[in-house]
């Protein structure tokens, strides 16, 4: 029988560029071309490093009071000034990053850990599983994010851990709904049918063939929700439902600072700036990721 000869020009030259580019690497390459996103990523990296290295880089003990340095303006000794009991604000902002970032990351981790498996189940199984989970999601999303977080945190009792749990639970329906919607779209793809046609069991189709293809929008949502969670943690701490004094948190620092706004504005400016910069960085990174992961943009 005659062998089929494939005309060579029909292919990309095989021996030339054989840079095998996985979808992940392609997204990273595209992200790198976005300066705003890269600056945001750098800011986030600095924040995380500061939080991790706080004991070594903070100039003072963040809870050490000093009656000789009450409400001092920013100076060479206290770069960000000092607060009403003489604690160094720079040190407290650095330590406060620990509370804010861990609250942001851990609470989103909780939301992801509950929301994605449930969303996958709802989207893939459909039927009453979907109906039940979707109604529950609708009910939770009907309550404004912060109100629900405050209610849950108040119910659980004031502590940073409980604030993280409250924020995590509040953010869960966001991930459940997003995952469900993505799964519904991907489930109808031809390659899912093809995966069934080669004898894959349902669990394997859901985990191996569907889940990786719903990840890109989830990654974007993670960064944006971390920003929301940082604000929520600051709000809860401001209200006394998060980090407990004397441990520093940006939110509780703002709460203290509001009483001294005219005499010592630096007490409010620096923790406020820290929240602002962190939230902005996560939002810009999220936008950049969205563009980098979207196959339609170049």
């Amino acid at each position: 029988m005659s062998a089929v000869t494939v005309p060579a020009p029909a292919l990309a030259p095989a021996n030339q560029t054989l840079v095998i580019e996985s979808p992940r690497r392609r997204a990273w390459r595209r992200l790198r071309r976005r300066p705003a996103a890269m600056v945001a990523l750098a800011v986030i990296a600095v924040m995380i490093l500061a939080a991790l290295l706080a004991p070594w880089i903070a100039p003072y003990d963040p809870i050490q009071q000093s009656w000789r340095a009450v409400r001092k303006a920013p100076s060479a000794a206290n770069w960000f000034g000092s607060d009403e009991v003489g604690r160094d604000i720079l040190s407290r902002v650095i330590y406060g990053a620990r509370a804010s970032l861990s609250a942001g990351i851990i609470s989103v981790g909780i939301a992801l850990g509950i929301g994605v498996p449930l969303g996958l189940a709802a989207g893939y199984l459909g039927g009453w599983t979907d109906a039940l989970l979707s109604r529950l999601t609708d009910a939770m999303l009907a309550v404004p994010f912060l109100i629900l977080a405050i209610a849950l945190a108040a119910f659980l009792g004031p502590s940073l851990t409980n604030a993280m749990i409250a924020i995590g639970i509040t953010a869960t329906p966001i991930f459940l709904r997003l995952t469900r919607g993505q799964v519904l779209a991907v489930r109808a793809e031809d390659y899912v049918e093809a995966a069934r046609a080669v004898g894959n069991p349902h669990w394997r189709i859901a985990l191996r063939h569907i889940l990786p293809n719903v990840m890109p929008p989830l990654i974007v949502q993670v960064t944006l929700t971390i920003a929301t969670a940082v604000i929520a943690e600051a709000s809860l701490s401001f209200l006394g439902l998060g980090q407990q004094p004397p441990a520093p948190s940006w939110g509780s620092m703002l709460n203290t600072a509001q009483r001294f706004l005219s005499q010592a504005p630096w007490m409010a400016v620096f923790p406020g700036l820290a929240i602002f910069v962190t939230v902005l960085a996560f939002n810009i990174l999220g936008d950049g990721l969205r563009d980098a992961l979207d196959p339609r943009t170049k």
Partner: protein
């Protein structure tokens, strides 16, 4: 029907599929379909969109949704009735003994994995072999479907391959476990004409190498003439004609087949217009009680208000028409 029964790989008898819509409306998409496929042979299932040919193939594979689709009849593969088999048994057969390739090579590969991974997955699912052995076999399969430099293509993601190359990968996946039956649902429809010819040639060559039986679903009579041995023509969920490929093209025995052949462009006769079949396929939620083609048939008689049986008209061929044999009419 002339072959020894031992050669029959797939025997479908009286297959019927009814879909129940959310509003309770029932659509009988496939109605009493029967055919058999022999080892090393290719059966073509021909018909226009919506005639039930794809549903037939999905029913054979057991891939119709459990909720909403009711399937009856017998589908005997290697002596086993697939409609009676458990989902677990079907999963073990799919990809191993029963393989399928789809119409859309551009979307039938998972964008998240390399083509090599996807071929290896089938092998690791059905064969107890090491990853290294599976890798070797996957590269071997890529070579057999004539993909150049298979060792390098193995690590490519699907988006780097053209449609024709992807369909070759799909064929490699389908044949990785040496299936007894390959169902190809419009495998060349989405490809351009030169690539179509290559893929058909490839399938023909692989059938000879592996001895697999092939069910080729298509609406393209050119493809049928190219690769099939036997043909089943479907219209509105029913088989209207069954014949060997030579007989079908020489002497079509059903007015619908005559119409399909008349709609083919040809080089050997001069015609200003292609003849189209007037009218449209009947609504399958309320099919006509008589011959389903009657409304569009130029040879209609009063008796067509009654459903004709699929009856033998000559040795080895069947037609569902009161007026068959048609020799006198087709002239």
């Amino acid at each position: 029907m002339t072959d020894a029964p031992a050669d029959v790989v797939l025997e479908v008898e009286d297959l019927a599929v009814t879909f129940e819509g959310p509003d309770g409306r029932r659509t009988r998409a496939v109605d009493g379909v029967g055919f058999s496929v022999h080892r090393g042979r290719t059966l073509g299932i021909v018909g226009e969109s919506g005639c039930g040919k794809s549903v037939t193939s999905l029913a054979v594979m057991g891939l119709l949704p459990k909720a909403g689709a009711r399937v009856s009849g017998r589908v005997v593969f290697d002596g086993q009735d697939l409609l009676a088999a458990s989902e677990r048994t079907m999963r073990d057969l799919r990809g191993d003994r029963l393989a399928m390739i789809f119409q859309e090579p551009m979307t039938s590969l998972n964008p998240s994995y390399t083509v090599g991974d996807q071929i290896m997955e089938v092998l690791l699912r059905h064969r107890s072999m090491s990853r290294a052995a599976a890798r070797e076999r996957a590269i071997e399969m890529l070579r057999r479907v004539r993909i150049p430099t298979p060792e390098q293509r193995f690590d490519d993601y699907p988006h780097r391959l053209s449609g024709g190359m992807r369909q070759r990968v799909m064929i490699a996946m389908a044949l990785a476990c040496d299936p007894g039956l390959l169902i190809a649902d419009e495998p060349t429809t989405a490809l351009d004409v030169t690539i179509q010819a290559q893929i058909l040639e490839l399938m023909r060559g692989l059938r000879e190498e592996t001895g697999a039986a092939i069910v080729l679903i298509t609406h393209d009579l050119g493809v049928v003439a190219e690769v099939c041995d036997e043909v089943v023509v479907m219209y509105a969920g029913q088989v209207v004609e069954r014949a060997s490929v030579g007989d079908l093209f020489a002497f079509p025995q059903h007015p619908y087949t005559v119409g399909l052949l008349g709609a083919l462009p040809r080089f050997d006769e001069r015609r200003d217009r292609l003849s189209a079949i007037e009218g449209a396929v009947p609504d399958m939620s309320a099919p006509p009680s008589g011959c389903r083609f009657a409304a569009r048939c130029p040879f209609r008689i009063d008796r067509c208000a009654e459903l004709p049986p699929l009856a033998p008209v000559a040795p080895g061929r069947l037609s569902r028409c009161w007026r068959a044999p048609l020799e006198a009419l087709a002239a």
